[in-house]
């Protein structure tokens, strides 16, 4: 990994620049799967309005504002142009500057054949890679399963395990906060704490080979969380250098990821569900949707600053996706309903930036029978590219039966 002069110059005024923040040695006890590339998947739950994220102001003669988004359209003068036809939401200034530096790839028009309009089914399809949506194993879990590894390498940064990571055959921790990782004990009898912990471990270990799947799973989780307690207790302090927005949501999750990466625990793959995008009504009341996109952009840029400071900017890829876009026509409640295509963003020093696929046609004559935008790219090619070109895995393993085409946005 290199610390480029350009990155260095951005930090000369920050304390972190006084010295490259060296990460601790990877601890053999907790070595993950031995991989060195990190992946952060930001999952915009609820269906993000991609048309107001990557705004197609010039596609098909501006039908975006004249035909489809009469009151919700972002004025063309405010859009941050990425080309003569499309541009980012004006709140996404931070990501626009990374785009200009070649670090942001925008895959436009992402969907899959015969898209589903249900959040639940569509989320399941995006997470399993199976178009039926009814599969028990996530595509990323398939990668983890093929990879093996004695200790966890992936984290569901959520209250519980996500479908994307479910079914890997190994322990995938799920948490949003490491402050809770302390073995509970009775303060009146602190000297008994080790006895309680030992008994807790013995109860769990005794069920490791249980024929009841739930008991065996909980046994593994109990023992795994005791390991995490030990690891997190010894986690070195990391002083964030990134200027995170104070949203109390995504920033906190990305800060946690930065701290875990800095701790070098072998945890290198992170799934961050981030809701609040289901804008059926009053989408821009109080600038709601645009402000949220601004938070997303600012938090990602701050995370990148953290990565630069710890020397991981070349080794970390961030991908942003959502289960569907929203209706091309705005609805009667100043909102948008469930649609189809959505842009996917890939962000990092290793990205071959730019507009990877063209925007779908905005010609009303080209809409699908559901009155939605036609697909340009298949999400399985987007994630397959990540699996093959970034993680060194096999798209055929993660997306069996899909004729994979590499989109080439990862160098």
């Amino acid at each position: 990994m290199t610390f480029s002069r350009r990155d260095f110059l951005k930090f000369v005024t920050l304390p972190a620049a006084a010295g490259l923040l060296l990460r601790p040695q990877l601890r053999a006890f907790f070595a993950g799967d031995g991989g060195t590339r990190n992946l952060v998947l930001i999952d915009l739950r609820g269906g993000c309005d991609g048309l107001n994220m990557v705004v197609p102001f010039g596609v098909n003669g501006g039908t975006y504002s004249s035909e489809f988004r009469q009151s919700l359209a972002i004025p063309q003068a405010d859009v941050l142009p990425l080309s003569a036809q499309v541009g980012l939401n004006p709140r996404m200034i931070a990501l626009k500057s990374h785009f200009d530096l070649g670090r942001l790839a925008v895959v436009q028009g992402v969907s899959y054949p015969d898209p589903d309009f249900s959040h639940e089914v569509a989320q399941a399809i995006w997470q399993t890679g199976e178009l039926s949506g009814f599969a028990p194993q996530g595509w990323l879990a398939k990668y983890l399963h093929a990879q093996g590894g004695a200790s966890p390498s992936a984290v569901a940064v959520d209250g519980s395990i996500t479908l994307l990571l479910d079914g890997s055959g190994g322990f995938v921790p799920a948490f949003t906060d490491i402050g809770q990782f302390e073995f509970p004990y009775d303060p009146w009898h602190a000297a008994d704490k080790e006895n309680r912990r030992a008994a807790y471990a013995a109860v769990a270990a005794g069920l490791a080979a249980s024929s009841k799947a739930e008991l065996a799973a909980m046994s593994g989780t109990s023992l795994g969380l005791l390991d995490l307690i030990d690891q997190f207790t010894a986690l070195p302090a990391f002083t964030h250098v990134g200027a995170y927005p104070e949203d109390g949501e995504l920033s906190d999750l990305l800060k946690l990821v930065a701290e875990l990466l800095y701790g070098n625990l072998g945890l290198r793959i992170f799934h961050l569900p981030y809701g609040g995008w289901d804008t059926h009504a009053d989408q821009e009341k109080g600038d709601y949707h645009s402000a949220r996109l601004g938070t997303l952009s600012d938090a990602m840029a701050a995370f990148h600053q953290d990565l630069v400071a710890m020397g991981l900017a070349d080794d970390t890829l961030v991908v942003v996706f959502s289960e569907f876009g929203r209706t091309v026509y705005q609805n009667g409640s100043k909102g948008t309903d469930h649609g189809t295509v959505t842009p996917v963003l890939a962000f990092g020093n290793a990205v071959s930036g730019g507009l990877i696929t063209p925007h779908p046609s905005m010609d009303p004559a080209d809409l699908t029978e559901d009155n939605e935008l036609p697909m340009v790219a298949d999400f399985r090619d987007v994630f397959g590219t990540v699996v093959e070109s970034w993680l060194g895995g096999s798209a055929a393993v993660c997306f069996p039966g899909h004729a994979f085409g590499n989109l080439g946005f990862v160098a």
Binding site: H119, E120, A174, S333
Partner: protein, 450 residues
């Protein structure tokens, strides 16, 4: 099949129809017999009262109010079903931002928990919290909003696909249903049908045509075979063990639903009378939800919620992952193993500790461990194995595995720094080790299974 009415079976019934039975409740159930026990469990509770203003002042206070009522309650099935419907019709204060309405919403679900499903769907469709939650209050003839229409079918009635994997509705159906529900809105705090905003044009939906109203749609959806199948599958999976939509058990319950004119109680009763409910497959087959775990634990411990500690109680429920009145999304909570993924299991251990070690007025609950041990004069007769067995029976886990017994017995005799502690059950020992054993049992994998 005649049910062999013994303690293990009575405990199984109480775990599913309620929050578990104390040894005393089991004695009473055995004395009464199966029929009387089941009839008492199936009897609906009185309508839920309105909480005092203070309990409506913040989410944690309202959560604590209901949790306290569940711990004290004598009709646990009404609460178990209210929690089921709360997940089915998942509506959250995060968007509604009105606890009075959230209370009304849950009260509606609980009061109709064992009633007629059409009444329930009709009530939910006019419920202020729901009208806000899924935007139907602004679903108007000249500007439809399809949010409620879609979820009414996808989540509340038919589901997306039928048991053969065929779609239950089309995108055109979503539009037709949305148009039928135009004008179902609010006037101040109450439901109001605004005729001016209703689309009186002709709509076509599943064989019906004409100026369809929301009521016509509800009639159709409640009577749809896909709804019957889905309710059968969901109720069976909630009370017995998880099954797929095309499982013949779901067909059986669907038939009960149809034959009864869409009543809920007959389906629930059919589950508790079914051979498969009493089979090995059903035993300890379900992961307790956080509320079930918490309410059941306090009930078995004969502990009480301290209502003046809402931040501890509501905070614990939230940390364990089931913030009642505030589910994470329209899909509600993920049942089963997701409850006990890393964070959830750790929070149960933390909550178990704070419940088991509650001994002063700053504790979130009141709990006296000596109450679990019978008469104090008999304590000296207890050795380690007897003490562990007594506590497992009190906590509805007499079927714990041998390895668990060994681990708990080891703890009972573990002194500081690896020394052996003689098991002499007196006040000091109770405060140190009975509390510790309770915390360990409540956080053990086997206790998480109902």
């Amino acid at each position: 099949m005649a049910i062999t009415w013994n303690a293990a079976n009575a405990a199984h019934l109480y775990r599913r129809a309620g929050f578990g039975a104390t040894p005393k409740q089991l004695d009473k159930a055995l004395a009464q017999g199966f029929e009387k026990t089941l009839a008492a469990l199936l009897k609906p509770d009185k309508p839920q009262p309105k909480p005092k203003k203070k309990s409506l002042s913040d989410l944690w206070r309202l959560q604590t109010w209901w949790l306290d009522r569940m711990v004290k309650g004598s009709h646990p099935l009404s609460d178990k079903l209210a929690l089921f419907w709360h997940n089915h019709f998942a509506t959250a204060n995060s968007k509604v931002q009105n606890l009075k309405w959230l209370h009304r919403h849950v009260k509606l679900l609980r009061d109709h928990a064992l009633g007629n499903f059409r009444d329930l769907v009709d009530g939910v469709s006019r419920d202020p919290a729901m009208l806000i939650w899924l935007d139907n209050w602004q679903n108007w003839a000249d500007s439809i909003n399809e949010n409620y229409a879609r979820e009414l079918m996808e989540l509340f009635t038919t589901g997306v696909l039928d048991k053969n994997g065929q779609p239950n509705y089309t995108e055109d159906d979503v539009i037709a249903v949305a148009r039928a529900f135009t004008g179902w809105t609010l006037d101040g705090e109450e439901f109001f049908f605004n005729d001016w905003l209703h689309d009186h044009g002709s709509k076509a939906f599943k064989g019906l045509t004409g100026d369809l109203d929301g009521g016509d749609i509800i009639d159709s959806l409640v009577a749809d075979p896909a709804t019957a199948q889905r309710l059968g599958q969901k109720l069976w999976s909630y009370f017995a063990f998880p099954i797929a939509l095309d499982d013949p058990l779901a067909d059986e319950l669907a038939a009960v639903y149809v034959a009864s004119g869409h009543e809920i109680a007959p389906m629930v009763e059919a589950i508790f009378r079914h051979d498969a409910f009493w089979s090995d497959t059903a035993r300890r087959a379900l992961v307790k939800a956080p509320v079930e775990w918490f309410v059941g634990s306090l009930h078995l411990l004969r502990a009480k919620v301290r209502k003046d500690h809402p931040y501890d109680i509501g905070g614990a429920i939230q940390a364990m992952g089931q913030s009642i009145y505030n589910p994470p999304s329209v899909f509600g909570w993920n049942e089963g193993l997701p409850w006990v993924a890393t964070s959830g299991l750790l929070e149960r251990a933390a909550t178990a500790e704070s419940v088991a070690d509650a001994r002063d007025k700053w504790a979130p609950v009141t709990f006296k461990p000596g109450k679990l041990l019978g008469k104090e004069k008999d304590w000296p007769t207890l050795d380690g194995p007897a003490l562990v067995a007594l506590l497992l029976a009190a906590l509805d886990l007499p079927d714990a595995s041998a390895s668990t017994l060994v681990a708990l017995q080891g703890y009972a005799a573990a002194g500081e720094d690896g020394t052996i502690l003689p098991v002499v059950v007196d006040d000091d020992y109770v405060d140190l080790k009975v509390r510790g054993l309770v915390a360990l049992i409540l956080s053990s994998p086997e206790y998480q299974m109902s």
